[in-house]
Symmetry: C2
Subunit: 328 residues, 2 copies
């Protein structure tokens, strides 16, 4: 089985590829070949027990999209995207990467021939929704994004459904919750603090909490996100029907509940590293974000999320700290 | 005031332009100039009391889109589209006209400069919805189109909202009901019979009814459709907020109610010209179409539809038969 991953150098891409390297039977058939794409040529995993090739370049160029599809991979994970903040700051770059890039990849599948109909897993986002939002968002709630990133993801979803309906590919779009705890350095995404207040204290460092503890949001661990991708790749799509874009399950938690989960895992001294410093701009943004979902279809289809925010913290400790909380 | 109409040679385009010619004060400020675009250069109305210029060509070519915007019209009606059946039969033509054409026009507005922010009225369609549908579709129901045409319209809507949010233009998307009674020759659109069974008998000709009389659908007259466009052009958009695509009001009627309206206007002998001949393929398609809407936002914003199907029949008799029913 030949697998393509676009955006392979990103956080989720790297974790997905590591999981494939660890479990080559993950998709039922053994993975014999992996094509990794990213805007800069990604590094090859050291542990892979199958052929790995890399493609570097911008999917906004049709020739790059065609190149990734040259040998007709059986399974495509399309993760490549310019992130929310950057797509908002640079209108043209966001549309090129997120709309043209996705369309070029879909068109490359179409050009690859009649008897080719790969599974195509598209990582979408809860950014397709925009305020005002109900307390729990139902599966049939409409997409009215309030960012260019959310707009571009919603367009990708519509194309994915139509290309699926046309028999060009077998698509599944998964709307990922905010990924938490995001490993690595603090980033400047407005959602970053949700991860910072867990990750930094666990590493013995101070973190700033810019909003009230009553703020509620929708989370999944990186491990769950990879699990969603794997499940979307192996799902029997006959049971999905024509509506191919799914709200993923997750954990709805307030900041207070995040903090209590951190305390349960790592103790009071770690929690004391959270410094409260309100940021009115972030508070205003957060007011427009999804707080909770009723992801009934995804649950029926067998997608599974973390069971609690405490589990999300424990996943981070296992995956990024080797299971040890140093400063407990 | 300078007005641009794309798709000016289409049925709605021609009726809109005639209305502008009849009432040049329609938009508050006098229309002094009109740019008409269509794929083939449209004919100029004879009665116009203002400068009219025409642009022929395909908006899928960025140069044609730029040409229509060259003199920065104050008000844009974007009606140009490849229709549903054709977009389904010719994948590439539909995407070129309906997706690339719309995006090129939006991009031409963006390229036209910083201090330019025209009102941009986009004719969308209830084809953005796909079965299974609730009996009455609420304003916040999601878009899961089951045609490439519906997909392309839904993408256009998302772009319209984002370009509006970005301050590039001041967009309003209106989701038109099925237009009935459509004048002219019977066409091969699957929805065509809803018009045929009224128009043909009124002209003394037989028409085929391919479905059961219990079939319910959602209608507006051509005159109402033009009214929606005019209202969208003059509406105070400050009260609309970021959700710029609106389900238009209409008349929900069964085929039986259509026939009784025809009888009330034109009598039994006209109704006898309807021949019942079931078409399983059309019956299957009709099963997936919208039956009724609760278009609360559009009504609050002042959009007004026909009051009954009988009024829709009377509008047709007034506008296409000079008010006279010959064979009563």
């Amino acid at each position: 089985m030949h697998v393509l991953v676009t955006g392979a150098a990103g956080m989720i891409g790297r974790k997905l590829i590591q999981r494939i390297a660890d479990e080559p039977q993950l998709f039922g058939h053994p993975v014999t070949r992996l094509t990794e794409h990213d805007i800069v040529r990604p590094e090859t995993p050291e542990t892979a027990n199958f052929a790995v090739e890399t493609v570097g370049g911008d999917l906004a160029e049709p020739a790059i999209a065609s190149k990734t599809l040259a040998d007709r991979p059986d399974l495509i994970f399309h993760l490549a995207a310019v992130v929310s903040g950057e797509a908002e700051a640079d209108f043209e770059k966001g549309y090129a990467a997120n709309l043209d890039g996705t369309r070029n990849l879909l068109e490359a599948v179409r050009a690859a021939g009649d008897r080719y109909q790969p599974r195509f897993v598209f990582s979408s986002s809860i950014a397709v929704f925009g305020a005002p939002l109900p307390d729990r968002i139902p599966d049939d709630f409409f997409c009215t994004p309030l960012t260019s990133y959310g707009t571009q993801k919603a367009v990708g979803e519509l194309l994915l459904s139509d290309y699926t309906r046309r028999g060009i590919l077998d698509g599944i779009g998964i709307r990922l919750p905010t990924i938490c705890v995001r490993p690595g350095a603090p980033n400047k995404a407005a959602t970053g603090f949700f991860s910072n207040i867990i990750r930094e204290p666990l590493a013995g460092k101070e973190a700033v909490l810019p909003v009230d503890e009553s703020v509620r949001h929708w989370f999944a661990s990186p491990r769950s996100a990879v699990g969603f991708l794997v499940h979307a790749a192996t799902l029997d799509t006959a049971s999905v029907g024509p509506r191919r874009n799914l709200n993923m399950p997750g954990v709805s938690a307030t900041v207070a509940e995040q903090i209590e989960a951190l305390r349960a895992v790592a103790g009071d001294r770690v929690v004391e590293l959270i410094r409260r410093e309100r940021d009115p701009q972030i508070e205003r943004l957060v007011g427009g974000w999804a707080r909770d979902f009723a992801p009934e279809r995804a649950l029926e289809l067998g997608f599974r999320a973390d069971r609690s925010f405490e589990e999300i913290v424990r996943v981070h400790v296992e995956d990024e700290h080797g299971g040890e909380v140093g400063s407990r």
